[in-house]
């Protein structure tokens, strides 16, 4: 921190006051700087909310940005947007931090030297001196991140109209999925799932509750059929076939762990079992069933699926090859579930525009004079075997628009600073085709542009006014859409129902698998968006849901595989394929498929902000364009070296303690009262003062059946409550600061998640041990933590059976510059070193609502308010509200039979109740 004079005086006077020595030191109380011309809508001290949308893998997600005096501090999902319905994921929540990233590009650089945008226009504008300007665009090649933006589509059209010989390409994309659809239907369609109508869900390596496109919406819909209110209720059943343990795998009823390359065989076996059951699918699939090692599993699942025909949804993950997607298409078609097919909203989906190899060939052939890369980072993202670096070097000019100085920026001749998502105008299109406007939440902090702006400039617009272009694109609808955040009725209609080309399916059926040896399963890390957000400390310090590792990636091995290789946690292994090798520390994980090594991608960045290159290893040396995700036949050997990993939860064995209650639905029906004993307070000599029914009692319910571990709540909490990040070394010491954590416990039926934060005990053990009254109980049931009274004895943490209290061991905010402090929520105290902190039920929101209610003469029940975590939870596993209001959702959930108090026997009377995890396994299957 560069201390300002004010900081210094403040510290000085605080120190002096502490010793009562203020003397004649005149306190500088600071200044108040009002507006000159006050915007009519602004109320100082009150947050304004604006609706906008962001792109995730090119698909739009609607967000609401909370802004305090002009700077956004917190995001929420837009309830009106179909891809969000109010929820957001961790990576989306964390985008707010990017806005204040000190490493962002601030000025246009030409050959490494600052230059003006006019210079860029002089070269590449409509009358620019670039050679292709007069050759109808020949030699101009653009590479864009996948996008579905209608405005961008129009700008590309304009550009191509001006330069018909220019080529526009896209990076990434679910190429295999589109290709499979093209083979099966003749068109590159994408599946649309209505999970509110699905009672059986099969996932073939698809992390559809945490990572696949549209996962937020799918989580919401999945929860509708998953939630069970009582022993006589019904719930859906989920089967997952996968290698690494994903959140979806944990949430599922059955998880079959196989290496990534065997998933297609299991899928084919399932298809064979359907054939065996008489469904009209290629009979050839029966061969796959007969030779499958998982025949009994496939048959049992098939019986279940056939019985629920019409209500089955099958997902195939984006890591899987075309054949697996074809098998998935066949399964969906045969079972006739709530799955329809529609054209992808992404521009150029299913066309050669996504062919990275063709792009590299064109570059290598010298056909490209000017390569324009817009918010995409091929130098890191493309497999090294494609030879991007040498090919791109053949382009005379390399124009790169980026937010951070990434790997591609290193070789750019023109480096253009990009505007942040919250500084720009534009639009997006969601997975279902719904369009949404993008509007700025803050005036741009740098003189940058968006891809749309660069496209417009290339197309001859010297000073693109994107708001105007947006208005022209959408006409009158824009004004109506801006406050709501969506363009109504823009969802794409599903394609007419088409028959599957069964021959294509039959051709795709895998031949008998040769022993592939050890398989390297590369797994997208949804936290950092496959490395694109590796600079974002909120995401780097966010524990991976299952291993709870932070900052690093690791070679995740099944216990048996690790034993065979003679390695344990933190041993460094070398993974070799041919000449290429990488070295990674080992993490042993029960549930990981045997015979496979799972490694997250997106680590080991070479550039992209100060944090991005720190920690973790780049796996791309082992990747090829043909096999980008599943690499068979790798060798793994121990090196004898060690590398320290940081995990926030070293112990996952519940020791048989009744902490995370879980039952199958059948068991619950047999014993409906199983949780009641855990929900009955133990006898006590002391009265419970909070028990007295009073108006306004807050409470929370955590539904463990619905928790998928996606960790959106954790980051939402970070953003809302100014939670500091501490770095890998401090996490290793056990000093992470997250108020809300998601514990994972192993069990006989696999791991399960337990969100855990302060449960606001009514007989709180933390309170009576505090010597200075720094933690006390409010009249409305909140265990309050008063930071400014805390002296830091940490006794409260000792006495907290849930260990949810966090301590500021050091001054975590040292080094924050003023611009970084702008992301802080001004309604929450930024805690200094030496004080304890913990979940407050977002008391700042509750007190705000209370003031709103009392000054407005409304009952508190009428003021909508919830905590940041509950607000963003995609499945609604966290429910917050007034437990004193019998009509409130939280009260109803609290009264359900599987509600219980974690550590009930300790006598703490937690206000937050957990709902036992109810599973719905197939009775024909043992695991």
């Amino acid at each position: 921190m560069r201390p300002t004079r004010r900081d210094f005086l403040r510290t000085l006077s605080a120190a002096a006051a502490a010793w009562g020595l203020e003397g004649c030191l005149q306190v500088d109380k600071g200044q108040i700087v009002p507006y000159v011309r006050r915007p009519p809508e602004s109320v100082p001290g009150r947050a304004d909310t604006y609706a906008t949308s962001v792109e995730v893998d090119g698909y739009g997600v609607g967000v609401l940005g909370e802004c305090h005096t002009g700077h956004p501090t917190k995001l929420e999902g837009n309830p009106l947007h179909p891809a969000s319905l109010g929820a957001l994921g961790a990576a989306e929540q964390a985008r707010i931090l990017d806005l204040y990233d000190r490493d962002r590009l601030r000025a246009l650089l030409h050959d490494g030297r600052p230059a003006a945008w006019d210079a860029f226009l002089a070269r590449f504008g409509a009358r620019g001196d670039a050679p292709w300007v007069r050759r109808a665009g020949e030699g101009l090649c653009l590479l864009l991140a996948p996008t579905a933006s209608p405005l961008r589509a129009r700008l590309i059209e304009e550009l191509l109209a001006l330069y018909p010989r220019a080529s526009v390409r896209f990076s990434g994309g679910d190429v295999a999925r589109w290709e499979a659809a093209r083979q099966a239907f003749g068109e590159p369609l994408e599946p649309r799932y209505d999970l509110t109508r699905a009672t059986r869900i099969v996932s073939l390596d698809a992390d559809f509750l945490a990572d696949e496109p549209n996962w937020i919406r799918w989580s919401r819909d999945w929860a509708v059929r998953r939630r069970v209110h009582g022993p006589d209720g019904e719930m859906s059943r989920t089967y997952v076939v996968e290698s690494f343990v994903t959140p979806t795998g944990v949430a599922a009823d059955h998880r079959l762990a196989v290496p990534g390359n065997e998933v297609v065989h299991v899928g084919a076996a399932l298809l064979g079992a359907l054939a065996q059951a008489g469904l009209p699918v290629p009979i050839a699939a029966r061969a796959s069933l007969e030779r499958s090692a998982h025949r009994a599993w496939a048959e049992a699942v098939a019986r279940d699926l056939v019985a629920c025909r019409g209500e089955v949804a099958v997902f195939v993950g984006r890591r899987q090859p075309v054949a697996a997607h074809l098998v998935g298409i066949a399964l969906n078609a045969a079972l006739g579930g709530p799955v329809t097919w529609a054209p992808s909203p992404l521009l150029g989906a299913g066309t050669a525009a996504f062919d990275a190899a063709a792009l590299v060939d064109a570059l290598r052939g010298g056909a490209v004079d000017t390569l324009v890369t817009l918010e995409t980072n091929p130098a890191f993202e493309l497999s090294p075997d494609l030879g991007w670096a040498t090919a791109a070097a053949k382009a005379r000019e390399r124009v790169h628009l980026a937010y951070l100085p990434d790997e591609t920026a290193e070789s750019a001749t023109w480096l253009l600073p990009a505007l942040h998502d919250f500084e720009r105008w534009g639009d997006t299109r969601a997975y279902d085709g719904t369009a949404a406007p993008v509007q700025p939440l803050v005036r741009p902090l740098v003189a940058g542009h968006t891809p749309d702006g660069v496209l417009a400039m290339l197309a001859g617009d010297r000073a693109p006014d994107l708001r105007d272009r947006l208005a022209r694109r959408w006409g009158e609808r824009l004004e109506a859409a801006l406050p709501r955040g969506v363009f109504d009725d823009t969802a794409a209609a599903p394609a007419p129902r088409r028959d599957v080309d069964w021959d294509a399916v039959a051709r795709a059926l895998p031949s008998p698998a040769a022993d592939a040896g050890l398989v390297l399963d590369l797994v997208r890390d949804p936290r950092t968006d496959d490395g694109r957000r590796a600079h974002n400390v909120w995401l780097r310090e966010l524990p991976e849901p299952v291993t709870k590792l932070v900052y690093d990636n690791a070679a995740v091995l099944a216990p048996a595989t690790a034993a065979r290789l003679g390695v344990a946690n933190e041993d460094v292994v070398e993974i070799r394929r041919g000449d290429a090798a990488i070295r990674l520390p080992v993490w042993v994980l029960a549930g990981q498929a045997e015979g496979a090594v799972a490694v997250w991608t997106g680590y080991g960045r070479r550039a992209g902000g100060a944090l991005a290159p720190q920690h973790g290893v780049d796996v791309s040396p082992l990747r090829t364009g043909r096999e980008p995700w599943i690499v068979p036949g790798v060798e793994v050997r121990a090196t004898g070296e060690r590398h320290a990993l940081a995990t926030t939860q070293p112990h996952r064995d519940p020791h048989g303690r009744p902490i995370l209650l879980r039952r199958t639905l059948a068991d619950w029906r047999a014993d409906p009262q199983f949780a009641v004993a855990q929900n009955t307070p133990p006898p006590s000599l002391l009265p419970n003062r909070s028990d007295v029914p009073r108006t306004q009692q807050w409470g929370m319910v955590v539904d463990q059946t619905l928790c998928t571990g996606c960790s959106a709540c954790v980051v939402a909490c970070v953003a809302e409550n100014n939670i500091p990040m501490v770095g890998k070394a401090q996490v290793r010491l056990g000093r992470e600061m997250h108020w809300l954590r998601i514990d994972v416990y192993d069990g006989a039926r696999g791991p399960a998640f337990q969100p855990m934060m302060c449960v606001h005990c009514e007989k709180a053990p933390c309170e009576y041990v505090c010597p200075v009254n720094a933690t006390s109980h409010s009249h409305d049931g909140i265990n309050e933590m008063t930071y400014n009274r805390c002296v830091g004895t940490r006794y409260c943490s000792n006495n907290c059976p849930y260990k949810v209290r966090r301590f500021n061991w050091l001054e975590w905010h040292r080094g924050d510059e003023d611009v970084l402090r702008m992301h802080a929520n001004p309604d929450v105290t930024v805690r200094a070193r030496g004080v304890m902190e913990k979940c407050t039920y977002c008391v700042q929101r509750l007190r705000g609502a209370e003031i709103e209610a009392r000054t407005g003469g409304r009952p508190i029940e009428a003021v909508p308010v919830t905590t940041a975590c509950a607000q963003t939870c995609p499945t609604g596993a966290l429910v917050f509200g007034l437990v004193s209001d019998p009509g409130a959702e939280v009260s109803k959930r609290r009264a359900e039979l599987h509600a219980y108090a974690v550590l009930n026997e300790v006598g703490t009377f937690p206000r937050t109740r957990h709902l036992a995890r109810i599973e719905n396994p197939n009775p024909d299957l043992r695991s």
Binding site: S690, K763, A764, S776, H777
Partner: protein, 178 residues
């Protein structure tokens, strides 16, 4: 003692015997200086019972009251907060501090009561001016006869002390010290 006689004896027993003898003869304003506490000497002087125990009792009661009432008033009356749902007037929890403050106040009473009863600190005193008196803390056993004693008569008393075995007898306060 500002004026009188100071006689030095061989040991505590001789000192005690001399005191007994003088008291039998009606001397009342006697004092002894000796390097160790000695019961026989104290008994011979018929010193009154020390009232210290009463001081200590008073201190202890004061401490207990201050502690308990203070805790009750601050935690249950002035700013009662809901602390872990426990009663604000948490009687059992107030006992330890009540006990500690009882002991503290009683101990302070014992110490300061002692200092007050002994009129300490007092760095200068006429007896320090007496030649050889520094041996009172080493091996000197002194008997002092105050001039205000009803039976005091300098020469007679002096002889009497010598007769009782005093190794030497000094006159004190004859030459007024500066």
């Amino acid at each position: 003692m500002r004026r009188g006689l100071m006689a030095e004896f061989q040991g505590p027993d001789a000192l005690a015997a001399a005191i007994r003898a003088l008291r039998d003869e009606g001397y009342r304003r006697l004092d002894a200086y000796l390097p160790l506490p000695h019961r026989a000497v104290e008994e011979a002087l018929a010193l009154p019972k020390s009232p210290l125990a009463w001081f200590v009792l008073g201190g202890g009661l004061l401490g207990a009251t201050v502690a308990y009432v203070g805790m009750w008033w601050t935690n249950a009356v002035d700013y009662p907060l809901n602390i872990g749902s426990r009663p604000a007037h948490a009687m059992p929890a107030f006992i330890p501090i009540t006990f500690e403050l009882t002991v503290l106040f009683a101990g302070l009473a014992a110490f300061f009561g002692w200092a007050w009863l002994c009129r300490l600190p007092r760095l200068w005193h006429p007896v320090f001016e007496i030649e050889g008196f520094e041996r009172a803390s080493i091996d000197g056993y002194f008997l002092a006869v105050d001039a205000r004693d009803p039976r005091y008569a300098a020469d007679v008393s002096m002889r009497r002390l010598t007769a009782l075995g005093a190794r030497r007898v000094l006159r004190v306060g004859e030459e007024a010290p500066a």
